[in-house]
Amino acid sequence: MAKWGMVIDLEKCVGCQACTVACGMENTRLPGEHWQDVIFFQEGEYPNTELKWFPRPCMHCENPSCVAVCPTRATYKAEDGQVLVDWERCIGCKYCMVACPYGVRFYTEEKPTYGGPDMKDVFSGGKGDHSWNPPWKAPQEDWKHGVGVQPHDVVSKCNFCYHRVSNVPKGTADLDPQNPATREHTPACVVTCPTGARFFGDLANPNSEVNKQIAYKNGVRLLDHLGNKPQVYYLTGEGGSVPADRAIKPKI
């Protein structure tokens, strides 16, 4: 069994949001429903201020609070370490959204956040119970693992591109987009990253590239004090940083 994890090198990340777009295309996301997002935040006060950013996929925690709170086991930890949603079990109670410290979960039935027309209305009337029917969508669909266009009234989230990663040969340590053998099994955000800031591999394999990166460059995890133990690590290096607390302090 693998324990898939991701390393994001913030020294290399240029905040271009290519990962966000690639994820949206790969997983047929609605505008605003960003399973993967780049969060920009400001440190310091004017004039001594700096704009910083970090990409934020689902952390696929070792100890996921969303899995513990789900009253129906719709959200579960898969064998290979991904946190997935079974859309045929989800009752849409949104407890997982409330319980996720990283805000990576999305409820389907909502007013659009971007002010434009609701894409679900523009492309409505999907086959079966699909929440919308986009003119183009990726072919894969696997509701038991939260893959594809979701049905109405469920919660969706990043699935570490389960449809790509799940059929990789057993024992693979690294999913490297540079390697033709593993490229098509690598999550879309990792493949598309123009600066190669993302690494994806098996955290249970001591020889994997992700483990080497974490060890040599002092990988840190977001909000580690909450005890969720993310399987996504950040390399902050000299230039990057992740916020130790909420990204945005409310102006009170």
Binding site: G32, E33, H34, D37, I39, F40, F41, R56, S65, V67, A68, V69, C70, P71, T72, R73, A74, R89, C90, I91, G92, C93, K94, Y95, M97, V98, A99, C100, P101, Y102, G103, V104, R105, F106, Y107, T108, E109, E110, K111, T113, D118, K120, H152, D153, V154, L222, L223, L226, G227, D245, R246, A247, I248, K249, P250, K251, I252
Partner: protein, 428 residues
């Protein structure tokens, strides 16, 4: 149902009564009597008609919105407030139900005989407020019917929501059994005491688990901690006390002279206001401790308390909804009189509604990792659909209460009073 002077004692009798009425009165008159709860106008009949219309209109509006717009007709958002007013309304009703069971337990479990005249009414109200709460919750959920098989087959024992469901279901079943036993005038059997005692334990666990749903979340610091379950249990007791004061007077058209003597003795005595004032006092202390920790701490995410104390709702809740009724219920000249009691109880119910809203929404105000656009506090105001859902909850409670008032003798006490007295007062 309506013409009979006696409370029907079995379901067979209830239906036989309805059948006889239908035969003797004819269809048109039967329907009219069902809609107004009887020929002679009664307080229950008036609010029955009003509340049934309110329920139907609000339910129709909610269903129209849910069918044609879906849950997008709510103003909740993945980027901010995930749980809106529907959840706070559910919590409001669920905790009123728990509180009413606690108030009933004063007589049935702890043996304070003077509280017996409100025990049966409390149990009945506990059932219907729980039904109202569950109805609101069901319309908030994305797939309420899926819950029926997905929860038992999932058996996710780590989930506080799972246990909340388990204990509120046990609570509801025990309440129904207890009410059935009271209906059959079985107040003193071993079974009746056992059900009462188990019901009290169940309700403590149920309200505690509802608190745990919020209190277990370390990532939501305004909710997190052992305090939340205690807070829910004790403030539930206050909600229940306020609800029973309002509804008892309501049943007699806000005229205490029509009450049965034991009930009038309780209403105009010192015990009830003393219990009421004590519970208001406990609630104020708990709000105070919650807020002084929240305002003092530097912990990340607790900033929401600074926002809450600046809202008018908070001050309405505190000064108008708790401090004023507290003073009224302590004042010797006011505590035993009907009007101040009713006003105090209404104010407290309003305060508790605000309290649940402020607790649920306030805990989600400070944004988490949601992207560049979540730059300040999460905006939220309930949509028309959410308001309608709340109105529906109140409508269901009132309608079922009026029906219960007509069908049962809710002020019944253990058989110390004579049968003649009971039949005379059964249909006030």
């Amino acid at each position: 149902m309506i013409a009979n002077k006696k409370e029907p004692k079995t379901f067979g009798e209830v239906f036989a009564l309805l059948g006889d009425l239908y035969k003797s009165e004819g269809a048109a008159s039967f329907i009219q009597q069902c809609l107004t709860l009887g020929k002679e106008p009664t307080p229950a009949g008036r609010w029955w008609l009003f509340s049934i219309i309110t329920t139907l209109v609000s339910f129709a509006f909610v269903m129209y919105q849910l069918i044609f717009v879906g849950h997008a007709s709510f103003n909740t958002s993945s980027n901010g407030v995930n749980w809106g007013m529907a959840i706070s309304t559910y919590v409001f009703f669920a905790l009123i139900s728990s509180g009413l069971t606690m108030i009933a337990s004063l007589g049935t479990v702890f043996g304070f005989k003077q509280f017996m005249p409100i025990a049966k009414r409390s149990i009945f109200l506990a059932i219907i407020t729980l039904v109202a709460g569950f109805s609101v919750l069901a319309l908030e959920l994305g797939h309420p019917f899926r819950m029926l098989w997905a929860v038992p087959t999932g058996m996710q024992i780590l989930s506080p929501m799972f246990w909340m469901g388990v204990f509120y279901t046990i609570d509801l079943i025990l309440l129904i059994i207890k009410f059935y036993l009271m209906w059959q005038e079985d107040w003193d059997s071993g079974l009746s005491h056992l059900v009462g005692n188990l019901g009290f334990v169940a309700v403590i666990l149920a309200s505690g688990m509802l608190g745990l749903v919020f209190g277990s979340l370390a990532m939501r610091p305004m909710w997190f901690g052992a305090f939340t379950s205690i807070y829910y249990m004790l403030t539930a007791a206050l909600s229940g006390a306020a609800a029973i004061v309002v509804t008892t007077y309501m049943a007699y058209g806000f005229d205490s002279s029509k009450m049965r003597p034991e009930l009038r003795a309780l209403a105009s005595g010192e015990e009830l206001p003393k219990v009421f004032a004590t519970l208001i006092g406990i609630t104020m202390v708990m709000i105070l401790t919650r807020f002084w920790v929240g305002l003092w701490t530097n912990a990340d995410g607790m900033d929401g308390f600074n926002v809450l104390v600046k809202t008018p709702l908070f001050h309405i809740q505190l000064w108008l909804g708790l401090v004023l009724p507290f003073i009224m219920m302590l004042s010797p000249s006011m505590q035993t009189r009907m009007k101040p009691q009713i006003i105090a109880a209404f104010l407290v119910l309003g305060a508790m509604f605000i309290n649940r809203y402020e607790f649920i929404i306030g805990g989600q105000l400070v944004p988490m990792f949601k992207g560049t656009w979540a730059y300040s506090l999460a905006p939220y105001f309930p949509s028309a659909t959410e308001w309608a859902l709340t109105v529906m909850g109140f409508g269901i409670t009132l309608a079922l209460y009026a029906l219960g008032e007509k069908l049962f003798v809710l002020s019944a006490t253990p058989p110390t009073s004579t049968e003649a007295e009971r039949s005379k007062l059964a249909h006030v």
